[in-house]
């Protein structure tokens, strides 16, 4: 029987690497999207950290500094 186990092991490792890298890329894009969403919502919604009466005014982030 030929001794070629190396090729089988390499193929299984390669498959794990390809699927792993792809799953990581989806996870990374998901995190970037969550940050974008949070940024839009921060800019749009009245912040809990903003002073009373400031709703409707642009959020400059002053209250969080």
């Amino acid at each position: 029987m030929p001794d070629n186990a190396f090729y089988a092991q390499a193929a299984y490792v390669a498959a794990v690497v390809v699927y792993g890298v792809y799953a990581l890329s989806v996870w990374r894009r998901r995190r970037q999207l969550d940050r974008r969403r949070a940024a839009v919502l921060r800019g749009r919604a009245p912040s809990a950290t903003r002073p009373a009466g400031a709703e409707g005014l642009p959020d400059t982030g002053e209250a969080r500094r």
Binding site: A5, Y7, A11, Y12, V18
Partner: protein, 241 residues
């Protein structure tokens, strides 16, 4: 804002907060790991090819899922999009193409690793290998095209046409071993007569097919959710501007 965050993920609205752990993906990873253990440790060796034959349990399921399920979904979703103009179908085609490309990449990496010890060469320009590589480039081009066209309706229409054309290659890839002289072996499972495999090998192959299918569904679901939420955030950004 709490109401917005819990709203359904539809374009034009803020997407719902997703669960931190994707249990379907975890189950799929465990299923693939169990399949690999069974294939490497508990499935008999093929006497002529030796241990390299075990690449079969990765290469064939990846090809089956990537070619028939992935490209099939791209074609069906694209055709339905051209008919119904429903953005969900465009997102499904986009997601299937990307996940399918990952499976086709596994096929193109494991194939040469199997060919080298058995055929004595990493690669040969025969019909099946060349057509599969050609399909990989078309699907890659499909995804690049999607990134290059800004208008959403135009992007969906162009990519739907390309997606259908790409999927037309799949029957030729399947039949290429009958139509052309090729080093690639004939199908030993998807053929009119009974499978030419021992019972243990067939069981491992079927288990592997199930695990890879589950992995495809888990990745497709994650990618489809990403596309849905991206569109919702883009609509939100446009509204905020």
């Amino acid at each position: 804002m709490a109401k917005e965050l819990s709203a359904p993920a539809t374009p034009g609205s803020v997407h719902a907060a997703r669960p931190r752990v994707d249990w379907l993906f975890v189950v799929a990873v465990l299923a693939v790991a169990a399949t690999f253990v069974r294939a490497l440790a508990f499935t008999p060796l093929e006497t002529v090819q030796g241990p390299a034959q075990k690449i079969f349990y990765v290469h064939v399921p990846a090809a089956f899922v990537g070619l028939y399920i992935g490209c099939g979904l791209v074609a069906v979703s694209s055709a339905l999009y051209l008919w119904l103009k429903d953005e969900r179908l465009d997102r499904m085609a986009e997601s299937s193409a990307e996940v399918g490309l990952a499976f086709l990449s596994v096929v193109l990496v494991t194939g040469p690793l199997w060919g080298r010890p058995i055929w004595g060469t990493w690669w040969t320009w025969d019909a099946r290998l060349t057509l599969t590589l050609f399909l990989w480039f078309i699907v890659l081009g499909y995804l690049i095209l999607r990134g290059a066209v800004e208008d959403r309706a135009m992007r969906a229409r162009y990519s739907a046409v390309l997606g259908i054309l790409a999927a037309l290659l799949v029957p030729f890839i399947h039949l290429s071993v009958y139509l052309f002289r090729t080093l690639h072996p004939m199908p030993i499972v998807l053929k009119p007569s009974a499978p030419s495999l021992s019972r243990e090998m067939l069981e491992t192959l079927l288990m592997s097919l199930g695990a890879f299918l589950l992995l495809f569904v888990a990745l497709l679901r994650a990618r489809y959710r990403l596309a849905t939420d991206r569109d919702a955030v883009e609509a939100l950004e446009a509204g905020a501007a």
